[in-house]
């Protein structure tokens, strides 16, 4: 593929992610994780992202596909997406397991009281996939979400706040952003009666 075709393919791939559904899910994940942490049930917060990942495609098929249409990208792109997804799931699963393990060790007092900077660690862990996703899809707003999470992590440490405060704050902002994008998308692209002539 030459440069013009590559850029067209990238534009088509980029437009695939502009509906706001993923943003809304990311925001909800942060909100639920924050609430679960606040209420002392962090395990629920760890399970919810997996449920969201499983729900994304059926929701996309129901809400987005009838409006934006169906596309199957080239084999090369499909391979890249598969590798990225496997890497992302591996990273998130690893981060969750390590997070829950460390939390359990603190609660059982096996580990010493953590340093103050650790409060920002969950948000830093979540900012990394957002940053990688932004680079992969060229969706700049995910870069802003990653930056927001990193700034919130710093804010938590400086103000000696609990991690859930940062998760909730970022969750609200990203959910609202995703919600606005989704509403705009639904208004801009009316549902086609049929995806045929």
């Amino acid at each position: 593929m030459n440069k013009t075709f590559e850029s067209l393919e990238r534009r088509a791939f980029h437009s695939f992610w502009n509906d706001g559904l993923l943003d809304l899910m990311l925001g909800l994940v942060l909100l639920v994780m924050g609430l679960a942490w606040w209420q002392g049930v962090p395990v629920f917060g760890a399970v919810f992202p997996a449920a969201c990942m499983a729900m994304w495609y059926p929701l996309r098929r129901r809400l987005v596909e009838p409006r934006l249409g169906f596309v199957e990208f080239s084999g090369q792109r499909v391979g890249k997406v598969r590798r990225f997804r496997v890497g992302l799931i591996g990273f998130l699963a690893g981060a969750m397991v390590i997070g829950l393990l460390v939390l359990a060790l603190w609660q059982s007092a096996i580990l010493a009281r953590p340093a103050e900077w650790i409060a920002g660690f969950p948000l830093v862990l979540l900012a990394i996939p957002a940053l990688l996703f932004a680079l992969f899809t060229k969706c700049k707003r995910f870069l802003w979400y990653a930056l927001l999470m990193l700034l919130a992590a710093v804010g938590l440490v400086i103000n000696a706040l609990e991690p859930y405060a940062g998760l909730l704050a970022c969750g609200v902002v990203i959910s609202v952003s995703g919600g606005v994008l989704l509403v705009r998308f639904l208004a801009q692209y009316p549902r086609a009666e049929a995806a045929s002539e």
Partner: protein, 104 residues
Amino acid sequence: MSAEESPADLDRLLHEPARLQALVQLAVVSRADFTWLLQQTGMSRGNLSVQMSKLAEAGVVKVEKRFHNNRPQTLYQLTSHGRAALQQYKESMQRILNALPDQG
């Protein structure tokens, strides 16, 4: 411009902005449905439908009709003949434009 190649020799099926636009969209993906092409090209349903029918009749695109999510769906895919025709068109166009003297 070479004696063998002139704008009049360009593939007229492809040398039409609406059809070319749809073909270029199909060239960068594996396959896409009517709605996707509609959104990406910004054409009207009627215009896109007419252009895609012409491309299908010429064997440039393959058409597959199916039900997806309980809705009728028409999928389009560039055929190998279509890919070759698009490549040929691109090369011809490049040669013609390269032979054009610089203006100003």
